[in-house]
């Protein structure tokens, strides 16, 4: 399937927004402004932007721990700067600074957040998908996961239950090749991890996760199936993370030349080429997109830097819904 020029331009801009978001986050993580550790998704923009593009605000999204892109794009444009300020541990953050990089959520668009434990959201997502069946509506649930996630036993329980109960659940498995340092072929016997779904009679496929048109086409089919009540789909999206596991990981475990080869398959580069060659998009139009994104990102960064830090004593809020926890 090829997308219309307008559609392709829109998702190109979405991907560029993720790329620039991540690059800025990396700068401020490396200089110590952002506390803790972060997982960047540079190189995986097509999988994230393509899936989110297909979904409605009322569909449930469980991003993965390398999911800044899916998080930002799920949010309403006016809330996106608050996704960044959350990562900066600021009071204006979308979670008031409680969650940080791994737990950014926004219930207003049903971004349910990640959980910090691999394989955890894979079973939590059963519940939001179950809710759609229980309440007889057509909202679907997408759970993002990585190749490493599949090693967790919960993936078996989840695939088994969603397939048996025909839950409207789409497993988006972004195979970026490595679980920290371990290549997926060293941890799993399959050449392609999508074969996992077949044992559960879940329609499963492996696609080029850097080709946003393919991502959108296949995701749309899975979402349509789910909305029709025909059950789950597992989509393995082959991709690659350009950075190490966390910002600062030199990724010495990767063979020479591998990164360079994948940079040739840069989703942004591929899409830009298609825009120019197939749709006659000019350099000036591409430049205008870049400028819009730069303005946007500069605003996020400024907002994040200038926002106040949360009040430390607010740490005791929200432990329970109906009782206070003692502070200092």
């Amino acid at each position: 399937m090829s997308l219309s020029k307008e559609h392709l331009l829109k998702v190109y801009e979405d991907m560029l927004l993720i790329r620039r978001f991540e690059e800025e986050v990396e700068v401020y993580a490396k200089n110590g402004t952002i506390p803790g550790f972060i997982h960047l998704s540079i190189g995986q923009e097509a999988a994230q932007a393509g899936v989110v593009d297909v979904l409605k605000d009322t569909d449930y999204k469980f991003p993965d721990h390398r999911g800044h892109g899916a998080i930002v794009l799920s949010s309403k444009p006016e809330e996106r700067k608050r996704c960044m300020s959350e990562i900066f541990a600021k009071a204006t953050g979308i979670n008031g600074g409680r969650g940080g990089s791994m737990h950014v959520h926004d219930l207003s668009v049903r971004n349910m957040g990640f959980n910090g434990i691999q394989g955890s959201t894979v079973v939590t997502a059963l519940g939001t998908a179950f809710n759609s069946v229980y309440r007889k509506n057509d909202d679907v649930t997408v759970v993002f996961m990585g190749d490493g996630t599949l090693g967790e036993g919960t993936c078996h329980e989840s695939l088994n239950m969603s397939a048996t109960w025909k839950l409207p659940l789409i497993y988006v498995l972004i195979n970026n090749q490595y679980a920290i340092s371990t290549h997926y072929t060293e941890a799993h016997p399959q050449k392609q991890l999508s074969t996992w779904g077949l044992g559960y009679e879940v329609p499963s496929m492996t696609i080029d996760g850097n080709d946003i048109e393919e991502v959108i086409e296949v995701t749309q089919q899975a979402v349509d199936r789910a909305r029709r009540g025909e059950g789950p789909t597992l989509i393995e999206m082959m991709s690659y993370r350009w950075q190490g596991h966390f910002s600062g990981d030199p990724a010495a475990y990767r063979p020479d030349g591998e990164l360079e080869a994948w940079k040739e398959k840069d989703p942004l580069k591929i899409t830009k080429q298609r825009l120019q060659e197939n749709h006659g998009v000019s350099d000036a139009e591409i430049e205008a997109i870049s400028e819009r994104v730069e303005t946007e990102i500069a605003e996020y960064v400024k907002f994040s830097l200038e926002s106040p830090v949360p009040k430390p004593e607010d740490a005791v809020k929200y432990v329970y819904t109906d009782r206070e926890v003692e502070g200092r």
Binding site: G113, I117, S120, V122, A125, T128, T154, M161, K317, D322
Partner: protein, 325 residues
């Protein structure tokens, strides 16, 4: 109007009446629907509401994970763990997920779910079907552990737990299932987080939960015959603990005996003891005593299991010791 019914029936009634009242309540678990549960606690629910009672695969993580996800959508799942011991295979969903969701969502949504867990020893089923698991959950802020001791409490606390917006692990001691008592027919709630003074007294405070309450009552009678007045506190909610009620009682009696079925290390007795040592040191007239299981797995052979579980005589010994100190 109150009738005399069993602890099991009281639990069943709580779920049925809550499901009648609120269509966001549903049940799920292994064999809970068509069979009505391994212990029959959910019997009749599937017959009445086939679309709201779900038999699952043997997948405790999926059961509790689904409950987390469904509850943040506004549903009220009541999941059953056939044996509380199985909590280890879904520990992550309870500890890292359910207990954190309200914190993560800053009050916008929470894991308003109940996990009913069949707990305790004495049925000759060895160490994977007999454990008291509350210590495994007692330092997880965000979780609530509820532990009824009577049929009246079983219904009122289960109703309150279903209505509560926090994740509740609801402990059902299997030795209590056949115990009978007066239970109102209509719906009622017993508030969570409040301990119950089950008997007033002046000389010794006994804190005892679930099946241990009967030891406490028997000991109170026996000590009364010797002129010693025992006050009994039943925590009802084991975590977060109602410290004030316990402190008030011990401030009066100056003597504490905790009876808990699980091993001695790190049970509610340990927490109560430490809390009183910190906050009520000057009121204590004698060292705190704990009557517990031995620190072993629960063995199978009846003689061995009886040897390991708490002995009634030990409660009397403890009471005599705190009085003689």
């Amino acid at each position: 109007m109150a009738r005399t019914i069993s602890f099991s029936k009281a639990l069943n009634e709580a779920m049925m009446q809550e499901m009648e009242r609120d269509d966001s309540v549903f049940i799920l678990g292994e064999d809970v629907a068509k069979m009505g549960g391994d212990f029959g606690i959910t019997s009749g629910i599937w017959d009445r509401w086939p679309d709201r009672a779900f038999d699952t695969a043997l997948s405790e993580s999926a059961i509790t994970g689904l409950s987390c996800g469904a509850s943040v959508c506004g549903l009220r799942p009541v999941a059953e763990l056939m044996f509380a011991d199985f909590i280890t295979v879904c520990y992550d969903q309870l500890v890292n997920n359910a207990a954190k969701l309200n914190y993560m969502y800053q009050g916008e949504a929470s894991a308003q779910m109940v996990v009913r867990a069949v707990t305790g020893g004495g049925i000759r089923c060895a160490y994977h079907h007999s454990q008291c698991i509350e210590p495994w959950l007692m330092n997880i802020p965000g979780l609530v552990i509820v532990a009824p001791a009577t049929p009246y409490e079983a219904k009122g606390l289960l109703v309150a737990s279903i209505r509560n917006n926090n994740p509740v692990v609801f402990l059902e001691h299997k030795h209590l299932y056949n115990v009978k008592g007066e239970v109102p027919e209509e719906l009622y709630e017993i508030p969570l987080y409040e301990a119950h003074v089950a008997r007033e007294g002046a000389d010794i405070t006994i804190v005892a939960a679930m099946s241990m309450l009967k030891f406490a009552h028997k000991a109170a009678d026996e000590m009364a015959a010797k002129g010693v007045s025992v006050e009994i506190i039943n925590p009802r909610t084991i975590f977060p603990l109602d410290k004030e009620t316990i402190k008030k009682s011990v401030a009066k009696t100056g003597r504490l005996v905790v009876v808990q079925e699980g091993p001695k290390v790190m049970g509610y007795g340990a927490e109560i003891g430490a809390m009183l040592g910190e906050e009520l040191f000057e009121y204590l007239k004698a060292p705190i005593k704990r009557v517990t299981s031995l620190d072993t797995p629960v063995p199978f052979a009846p003689g061995m299991e009886d040897y390991v579980l708490p002995h009634y005589e030990d409660v009397i010994t403890a009471c005599n010791e705190v009085m003689a100190y």
